[in-house]
Symmetry: C2
Subunit: 436 residues, 2 copies
């Protein structure tokens, strides 16, 4: 007589970003039952989100459905629900279905990878004035704001109004800020120019405001200079050492006392961990750092809770930056920990981050990058960037379409996705509200 | 000495749909100054909108920016504003810019082509329960509802709940209703099937509810039978002669006393003219019919106002159906009237509609159609449908991408755009709200 086998080990993964998805995929051959829960039905390829906000890529191209990604992985199921709390003693996670119903999800191992949200550094009231770029809705809102500003300039009756609508500012000189500023400049100087009659879109100004002494702080020194120079060549006015201290409908106040006039401001100045990090810390009796990230052990587990791992942007670990490759590596490390334990080797292994380098695109045909000590810039860096990003895109269909769109954008003076949304998130404040 | 030439004739076109856009394009060589005003920044290729709502095409592919379409037409400018009223004696149209500012637009000839909106036939309160398919926002809302229903079924704890979420209904047996019902069936029976673990999506039921005695009322008799049969083969439950008299969160009440259980209902049962038709009628002292359409002269002008033309879905003319080809032909006719008058031939010419036929797609690889007395069905009709629709798509880029996506959808078991939106328009009523 054969005994009933043990019930399979249940791995619950919270979040379908790079961390959670790579953890799930790395467990595809493990004798586990994986449940991946996310409040969105899609993964989000954050590094290309700025291209959705500037009309180059579609939502589907950067946001494949999680179910589709895990279609062939029989040991994984996907649930669409928002996690609301943790009961670590009962080994259960509380969640809410889209219709509000409460769900309780049990686990043997819990991997929390809920990512990060925008940090307005104490100025949450700036959010309506300066949309950020963390979700698809954000990307649509930014696209609507930018394109509508040009429409308003075309409608303007006086030169002052026209110029006001043609002034843009991006706050934050990291890769997202750089890439956004470069794309807005490229839209104005190239794509949109033949479409307007009353305005010359090339006269638009784009300011990039960075609190630190240089843009791309985490890049090697010569690349920071190169990036600033390339941005200048695109017409982007780079203001470094200038933290934003005030924001209104007409522009930014800087720490230096200067003012940057801009009716369209986009926020790309930092992130903080998902609020779930604080809830998990409370449940586990651990702490979060000033950016809301969980303190984790070197092996990514929570202190005293070896069956709970926190990974990606919501885990604080010295020397590990908040970038996609770090989340992927942590996802794989968490999966390895699960597999080792199931194989009877429970001794912890610390996570080691392998820094493969940095890349950032500047405008249409330049980039800067470094990898394993080698620095590159210009068109070569753009090619490296393209290869790396296509490599990590999910699905051959999306890879093909994305490359086609990039070539199309380079060759034709056009972008496929230029719809201005009409929902409340896309609405412009009325003249009376914005400029009382 | 050369005299100053006359100031150019100003043509103001309200609406960038098929009627307005074709009028503008047909005036490209005329000595006129065209202003095209629309509250959206894009044209909308309505006949393919259902493919956006089922994840096959992207927004940009069916909604090219009006500016881009008229880029090379130097005598046309585009304004993003919502028309609010008409002062026909002053030859001026009142509009509102996106920031609420009032604009006054003068004209020598006015072409009004503001199209149609959904008609809930006196049940406007049904709109939140049964989204329709007239705008891009509608298409996103329908997509979110349909995809989320499958997610809810996967989450359901009991068989009754699971089955309730897998029941869909489409109201309206015209081409849009047929095409939607066929696509939802194809999603359930093919695309989504490998993605779910707890449910077999192929067990989903799709009902098509039509008030008239047959589906596709405006198609020749044998094609109606063929369409009903093909729909049945796809698993669509066709209920004809059954007007909907009640709608709640769990389904439809029919005139016949029957009930159709369906937690997801889509409304495709008719349109009425834009409210601008009534405002224009009031300004001109003419009337609208019961579907809100303007009474127009045989030459598409308003009685006593030869300089004002109304075209497309908002003009009532015997024997002219509310389809895209009719709007295109009327747009071209309006342009011809303007050109003839400028050439000194002001005598009116009546508009004559050339009926080129009808086409409707059923599921993934069947269609029915008729053209110039010839009827066709099956795969051949699908090919004709594809050629005709690609022919009228705007832009070579969009044509190429659309054909690629169709082939991809036929060959691969996948659809590219499956994002469930998260804005208020996409929200599900909570369990308490929907089923008190």
């Amino acid at each position: 007589m054969r005994q009933n086998p043990d019930p399979p080990h249940r791995v619950l993964i919270v979040g379908g970003g790079f961390g959670g998805l790579y953890a799930a995929k790395a467990l595809r051959r493990a004798p586990v039952e994986i449940t991946l829960v996310d409040r969105a039905n899609h993964h989000l390829f954050q590094p290309l989100l700025y291209q959705v906000s500037t009309g180059m890529l579609t939502e589907g191209e950067v946001a494949p459905p999680l179910r589709g990604v895990l279609r062939r992985q029989a040991n994984a199921r996907v649930l669409l629900a928002e996690v609301t709390g943790f009961d670590l003693d009962a080994r259960a996670v509380a969640a809410r279905a889209p219709d509000g119903q409460a769900l309780a999800l049990g686990y043997d191992t819990l991997i929390v990878a809920a990512g990060a949200t925008t940090d307005y550094v104490g100025h949450e009231d700036w959010a309506p004035l300066a949309p950020s770029l963390k979700s698809l809705d954000d990307a649509r809102a930014v696209r609507s704001r930018v394109l509508r500003a040009f429409e308003m300039a075309e409608l303007a009756t006086g030169a002052a109004e026209r110029e006001a609508w043609l002034r843009f500012a991006v706050v934050g000189g990291g890769p997202t800020g750089i890439e956004l500023a470069g794309q807005v400049a490229a839209l104005a100087r190239r794509t949109l120019r033949p479409d307007y009659r009353a305005i010359d879109t090339a006269t638009a100004s784009v300011a990039l405001v960075e609190a630190g002494p240089q843009v791309l702080a985490e890049f090697p020194e010569p690349l920071r200079d190169r990036a600033a120079r390339d941005l200048g060549r695109l017409g982007v006015d780079v203001r470094t050492g200038a933290a934003a201290t005030g924001l209104d409908a007409e522009g930014l106040e800087l720490e230096t006392g200067e003012r940057v006039e801009a009716r369209t401001v986009i926020w790309a100045a930092g992130v903080k961990a998902s609020p779930l990090a604080a809830r998990l810390a409370e449940a586990a009796g651990t702490r979060v750092d000033r950016r809301g990230r969980l303190e984790v052990e070197p092996d990514l587990t929570l202190a005293g809770r070896p069956e709970v791992l926190a990974i990606g942007d919501m885990a604080a670990l010295d020397g590990v930056p908040g970038v996609a490759p770090a989340a992927m590596q942590q996802g794989r490390h968490a999966a390895r920990t699960v597999r080792r334990r199931l194989a009877g080797r429970p001794e912890p292994r610390p996570f080691r981050y392998l820094d493969k380098g940095r890349l950032a695109v500047i405008g249409r045909h330049r980039a800067v990058g470094s990898a394993f000590g080698i620095r590159f810039s210009g068109l070569l860096a753009l090619l490296v960037w393209a290869v790396v990003h296509v490599r990590y895109l999910i699905g051959w269909g999306n890879r093909l379409v994305t490359v086609t769109r990039w070539l199309w954008t380079m060759l034709a003076r056009d972008r496929a996705e230029r719809v201005i949304g009409s929902g409340p998130a896309h609405a412009l404040p009325t003249a009376a509200e914005a400029r009382p």
